[in-house]
């Protein structure tokens, strides 16, 4: 892999919902192996920014490139943008794994069924191969025993680990985490963070929207602080948490400490 090519590159990203401007020009680069933690208060645009990366939200302006390939966009009538090439969109999406706050597993399929779904259906992998790989990733997240269970019969922590396995199974160029522990009972947060921490240690590319500041400080190679739709400050975690410059960030860190 060419290390010079960013895994995810966002250039001057704007997003507004009606007249509400949520993102006001964000530029961000994640090189392969980067673990980018995105922090900020609620309503700062963290999740919206993350969801623009795989076009679950379409940007109003700006450019997003995944591994050097920019999404083909075309203007809409109301002055925004929309994906112009459905095939390209699907191809790029299949290379990005997303872990959602509410897990969003498919409840009518077993754990194994959830994990092999995308490799078999979207990537066209032979079923046997997909199952073998699924068993490996389930082992990694500690769910080897659970492959025949249905999501509704598992704890939130297990469901989220299954969702992470579902992402690992597609061997994504970058993993997107949208507040992966916010919907969990406090005692279940640890098991999910442990899994993510291990993945970060392997230098998998990740963009992680989180409220877990201690965790962000530990695992991130780069921390981005979002305030009112702008990047107010960014840098290595020691600098962001140890020596924050902007008064907002200082206050934010005090408020959650």
């Amino acid at each position: 892999m060419n290390n010079a090519t960013p895994a995810v590159e966002i250039r001057d990203l704007h997003k507004h919902f009606g007249r509400l401007e949520v993102l006001k020009g964000i530029s961000l680069t994640a090189r392969p192996g980067d673990v980018v933690a995105v922090i900020g208060g609620s309503g700062s645009g963290k999740s919206t920014m993350l969801r623009c990366i795989n076009m679950l939200e379409t940007p109003s302006a700006g450019e997003i490139a995944i591994h050097g390939e920019a999404y083909a966009m075309r203007p809409t009538r109301d002055g925004g943008l929309e994906p112009a090439d459905r095939r390209q969109l699907q191809r790029i999406r299949a290379q990005l794994g997303m872990v959602f706050q509410n897990f969003n597993l498919w409840p009518h399929r077993t754990v194994l069924g959830n994990v092999i779904e995308v490799p078999v259906q979207v990537l066209g992998m032979p079923r046997d191969e997909a199952v073998a790989r699924a068993r490996q990733v389930l082992e990694r997240v500690g769910l080897a025993e659970k492959e025949d269970a249905y999501p509704a019969h598992m704890s939130g922590g297990q469901q989220q680990r299954c969702a992470i396995a579902r992402v690992l199974a597609v061997e994504p160029l970058a993993m997107l985490f949208d507040e992966p522990t916010s919907a969990l009972d406090p005692e279940l947060v640890g098991e999910v963070l442990t899994v993510i921490r291990d993945l970060a240690a392997e230098r998998r590319t990740m963009i992680l929207v989180t409220h877990e500041m201690g965790f962000a400080r530990d695992v991130a190679s780069h921390v981005v602080y979002l305030k009112d739709g702008r990047i107010e400050e960014q840098g290595p975690p020691e600098q962001i948490f140890g020596d924050p410059r902007s008064p907002h960030l200082q206050q934010f860190i005090r408020s959650i400490a």
């Binding site: 795989n54 679950l56 459905r86 969109l89 699907q90 191809r91 790029i92 999406r93 299949a94 290379q95 990005l96 794994g97 997303m98 959602f100 509410n102 969003n104 597993l105 498919w106 409840p107 009518h108 399929r109 077993t110 779904e117 995308v118 259906q121 979207v122 249905y150 999501p151 509704a152 019969h153 939130g156 579902r166 597609v170 919907a183 969990l184």
Partner: protein, 276 residues
Amino acid sequence: MPDIDIATPIRPAPALPLRARLAPLLMPHRLVMAGLALTALAAIVTQMDWSWLPGYLPKIGHGLLVTLALLVSSVAAGFALALPLGAVQVTGPAPLRWLANGFCTVIRGTPLLLQLWLIYYGLGALFAQFPEIRASWLWPYLRQAWPYGFLTLTLSFAAYQGEVMRGAFAGVPRGELEAARAFGMPRLMVFRRVWFPRAVHRALPTLAGEIILQLKATPLVATITVTDLYAVITRVRQATYLTYEPLLLLIAIYLCLSGTLTLALRWLEGRVPSGR
């Protein structure tokens, strides 16, 4: 956090010893009720006139088959129609949405008997005016009454079940569909792999009730000369001048049918791996 509407699956209770299972049935008030019921049954069997029954059994059997055939065929065809009716109302382009919504509203808002007569007398008379239709291979069927009964019952089931499916499609949590899109699934695959199976699973519990309602709607076809179970019993009453015996038999048969259906569908529901 699991979805609110996801009920914890009911696990079968561990088998109790026979005595413990019988104990609730042996309470005094229940014994009295059971005794009364048995007495009533005995009185019905011994005191009433059932001499006509053996002679009519073949006809009753035939009527039962007609009723079941109408039920099964109209439920199957109606369900097949209900899927697009429901899906279109949730995602379709506006004209299709209005059309499906209008269809469901009209059918659900008017008496089934009226629809049956309109279709039988209206369509039947209309078809008869076209020599091309009279000459076609379809005419031997279209001359009979049952195709109109089947059509009406099918449309009715489609409308009611279509409304159920609309709710079921709309109720599939957005996040599950979003996850499918986020992994690069094309729209049709999202529908085929996630949206559709999830909606059907969500609709299954109400399906049993709709099928029972449909069973109870089938006797209406007797009014357009289809000899279903109810029509046979009516003929028995006219021929024997008996009022109650044939009707009691009819009730017993319908009860058996709906009971069997309920049990069968409950069993089916337990087997569907929805993980709800």
